[in-house]
């Protein structure tokens, strides 16, 4: 048991150190070298455009179910018109960024790890190095830059769709007064909630792509290794998102609202 715990801690620390080095090298590469914009745009398409269905469905149904549940509880105390305000705050600062990031971690993180892992086991990354191309510059930077630009947009989109869906469900299905519902949302949901969500999206995007690239570039040999790295990429990214979300909520609440 002691050995298992020691191995787990050692592996966790090694992974953390490797991830930190990867962040550092990526940051240095972004500031010192001209990015390959063609690759960045392709990755933006891959991450942003190809994630549309996942993000829209997640945002819409989360907003709808949140609206319905909030209405059912608030209706008991005659606070129906506060429903959209709760949905807006929850979607904007918590559910929007977290659920969008978890879906992107599953779709994009897994794909990136599998792609880089396959390149590693088929010696394509070694071939890159022999062709005087740094794997960080060529493989990590375009993906990191694209994710950094696209993730806040996907989150904003998910939040907007979630609030719109909640409005439609509230007004047309549950019969809430649209004017008061909209007025209460504007009154209680502030810019700090939206800004919190956008800042979280930047951080979660960075976590997803760094974990995915790290797992791919350090993938064990063989098909089993690629599968293991892909699974670990999604699991580690998801757990990191959930844990960091708590600390970000506490920190951003302190910074943005002073409470």
């Amino acid at each position: 048991m002691t050995t298992i715990a020691r191995d787990f801690i050692r592996q966790w620390l090694v992974g953390l150190g490797r991830g930190t080095m990867l962040v550092w090298e990526t940051a240095c590469s972004i500031f010192r070298h001209k990015p390959a914009w063609r690759d960045v745009i392709y990755q933006m398409y891959f991450i942003g455009v190809k994630s549309q269905s996942v993000v829209l469905i997640t945002g819409a149904f989360t907003g709808m179910v949140l609206c319905a549940q909030t209405y059912f509880q608030f209706h008991k105390v005659k606070m129906d018109t506060a429903t959209l305000a709760v949905v807006a705050v929850a979607m904007g600062s918590e559910l929007g960024p977290v659920l969008t990031s978890l879906m992107v971690a599953g779709r994009v993180g897994a794909a990136v790890t599998a792609e880089l892992g396959t390149m590693k086991v088929t010696e394509q990354i070694d071939a890159l190095r022999t062709l005087a191309a740094h794997p960080i510059d060529y493989l990590v930077v375009p993906r990191f830059s694209a994710m950094f630009l696209v993730m806040p947009l996907l989150t904003a989109e998910s939040v907007c769709i979630g609030i719109s869906s909640a409005y439609i469900i509230g007004v047309f299905l549950l019969g809430v007064d649209p004017t008061y519902m909209w007025y209460n949302m504007l009154r209680y949901a502030g810019w700090t909630d939206m800004l919190t969500g956008i800042i979280k999206a930047f951080v979660f995007g960075a976590i997803i792509i760094i974990v995915a690239c790290d797992k791919g570039l350090n993938c064990p040999q063989g098909a089993e290794g690629v599968g293991q790295a892909t699974t670990e990429s999604v699991v580690y990214a998801s757990i990191s998102i959930l844990i960091s979300n708590f600390f970000l909520t506490m920190l951003l609440n302190r910074i943005l609202t002073g409470s």
């Binding site: 088929t122 010696e123 394509q124 071939a127 190095r129 022999t130 062709l131 005087a132 740094h134």
Partner: protein, 248 residues
């Protein structure tokens, strides 16, 4: 030009390279032979710093590359071209994009110039017309030839070949050997190949290094290796198994 001094490398406590020493001069065509799993590919990867040694030095034109970081190595690697055992073509790119990769990265050439250079080297490896194919559409021999074209297009000073003929039929193997010999002759490059295909070794080398039990066991001109009566060299060259190692 290339000097390896007391190179040591272990994996999981097993010493694969245990004090390797040799020198290769400019323009030489050298083959490294040795048993499967004996560390030939590991040795080759040390020459281009794809692996870091546990101890020892790898000197390229007097510069020890073992102590350079990945960015410093980029400049050194510009001198090298490498053909991998599996060709290691980028499977998301076409043949043209694979072969022209280095020229495109350097950014000193127009698209037209790159296309012309690619057509020229593909013609040299007798694959002109395959520019728009993906690696998955090519046979093993064709992939190796594309790998060779990718390695020579930027005119490196040193070419490394990792098992260039492994897994190919004798006719394709012969074609690859002739190509390697042609490249050495035409481009005047230093050529280092790793193989256990003795027919291939005879065709493409001036000198043979034999790796045995983690050390350079023999370093002789090709003809001498083939005439050697040393039992270890003789058995390897003629493909005779040691009876002691045969169990049923």
């Amino acid at each position: 030009m290339i000097e390896v001094r007391n190179l040591k490398k272990s994996f999981g406590g097993h010493a694969v390279l245990d004090g390797v020493n040799f020198k290769i001069n400019k323009g030489e065509a050298v083959v490294i032979i040795g048993a499967s799993g004996g560390g030939k590919s590991v040795l080759l990867k040390h020459l281009i710093a794809l692996l870091q040694p546990d101890a020892g030095e790898v000197l390229i034109e007097g510069q020890d590359i073992a102590c350079l970081n990945e960015r410093e190595l980029l400049k050194v690697r510009r001198k090298f071209g490498m053909l991998f055992q599996s060709a290691a073509l980028f499977d998301s790119m076409t043949v043209e994009e694979n072969v022209g990769f280095m020229l495109r990265r350097e950014g000193n050439h127009t698209d037209k110039e790159i296309s012309e250079c690619v057509a020229e080297v593909l013609d040299m490896v007798e694959l002109d017309g395959t520019q728009h194919k993906k690696p998955a559409e090519l046979s093993g021999g064709m992939r190796k030839r594309v790998g060779l074209a990718r390695a020579v297009i930027y005119k490196p000073e040193i070419l490394l070949y990792d098992e260039p003929t492994t897994g190919l039929d004798p006719i394709v193997s012969d074609a690859i050997d002739q190509l390697i010999a042609k490249v050495v002759q035409q481009l005047k490059v230093t050529s280092i190949a790793v193989t256990h295909d003795m027919r291939s070794a005879k065709r493409i080398s001036h000198r043979i290094l034999m790796l045995h039990e983690g050390k350079i066991y023999a370093d002789k001109p090709t003809e001498e290796i083939f005439k050697s009566q040393d039992p270890i060299i003789y058995r390897f060259v003629n493909g005779i198994a040691d009876v002691k190692h045969i169990t049923l």
